[in-house]
Each structure stands twice: as structure tokens, then as C-alpha cells.
Symmetry: C2
Subunit: 114 residues, 2 copies
């Protein structure tokens, strides 16, 4: 599994957010399709394709970050343009997480095991 | 980015398909949430969470496989339970791909650069 592709209205804008979020660079920009470099050896790349239809409802597939410092990681992602939807703290044994949305409203999570 | 989570009706069934598709094992099964092991060092893991609502419309986020033999890879995935939606061959310079659906209708692609 080499890539995760996100449908969007503005591939360049979303690529700018996500390349900062996962700390990598834009590898190729074909206008309607933008592909990031993998963030590290063997890692999945993100890609963004322009689609005409707007986002409807919840994302059925979403990406998750793992971190040792959820609060700091959420703060970093918000400073890049994400917004916080809600925190899930102390609900599930062993895992706290924050659910965020990217600049086009795609949901993703930042989880911290404890 | 450590994980990609797919909402579904039947986490165990979908985990069985995807663990064979990416050639890894189920790492943990909490009933309503099943997590696969990463397929390799540094790779993203897949997870499946049970949700009450059915899948509606196209997946806004999807995963992509890269291969050197698209026909054989598609045949392998179909034998595991995927269905083929359509082939995109000779349309985009440098890349052919097949769009498939997993057993719950989640779209994913198998691409081959040339």
C-alpha cells in the first residue's frame, strides 16, 4: 500500500497543509493531482486530487497520527491550519485522542497511548 | 502518520480481507475495533472500526497500491474478495490503474507506472 489519496477542491492548498503536517515535501504537482514525497523510508505517501463534488458527510476512511505528546501535536497541527473537533480523553482504556479536521474538513485523529 | 482507519459494518470481515491484501496479520481485535500490524518497518497500519451508519457515496479518502504487474495484482485482490470497478489504461501518460472495491464497497486503486 503505497499511497493515500484525498479528494479535494484545492489540491495545492491541501498539499501545503499536509506536507507541513507530516513533514515532507511536494514531490510532483500536475495541477489537478499533487503527490507528496513519503515522509520516511517505506512510509505511505499522501496525494490530493481535485474533484468537482463537495465533501458530504463524515469521512469513511481517515488517517491517524500517533504521538507521545498529544497536546503539543494538536497545537502544532492547529497552527498549520487544522481545527479541533473534539477530545476523547479517559474514555477508552489505554488511548486518548483528539479528532481534528484539515482545511477542507477532512477528519483525522491524533492518538496517544498510555 | 501511523494508521489509516476505515469505518465499516463488520470489522473482522474487512480486517480478514485487508490483512490478506497487504500481507500482514491482525495485531489486536477489540471487537468493534480491529488493528492490523504494519505490513513492514515504518509502514502505515490499517484499522477497522464498526460504525452504525452505512457507507454513502464515494470514498473521499482512499488507499492506493503500487505494482509492477497490475493485471496479476488485480487478479490476486479479486481472488481475496475485491471487485473491479473499472480500468484506466492509456488515459493518463505514465500511469495505468484499476479501481476496485473492498467487500464493503470501499474504493481503492492499483496503479502501475510505465
Amino acid at each position: 500500500m503505497g499511497m493515500v489519496t484525498i479528494d479535494c477542491a484545492d489540491p495545492q492548498k491541501l498539499a501545503a497543509f499536509w506536507s507541513a503536517a507530516v513533514d515532507t515535501a511536494v514531490a510532483q504537482d500536475w495541477g489537478e493531482f499533487v503527490m507528496l514525497a513519503p515522509a520516511g523510508e517505506g512510509q505511505v505517501r499522501l496525494a490530493f486530487q481535485k474533484v468537482p463534488e463537495p465533501k458530504v458527510g463524515k469521512n469513511r476512511v481517515h488517517v491517524d497520527f500517533e504521538t507521545n505528546d498529544r497536546v503539543a501535536e494538536v497545537e502544532r497541527l492547529v497552527s498549520l491550519g487544522a481545527s479541533v473537533a473534539y477530545d476523547q480523553v479517559g474514555v477508552v482504556p489505554g488511548l486518548d485522542w483528539t479528532t481534528l479536521a484539515d482545511p477542507e474538513g477532512n477528519v483525522f485523529c491524533v492518538g496517544q497511548a498510555h
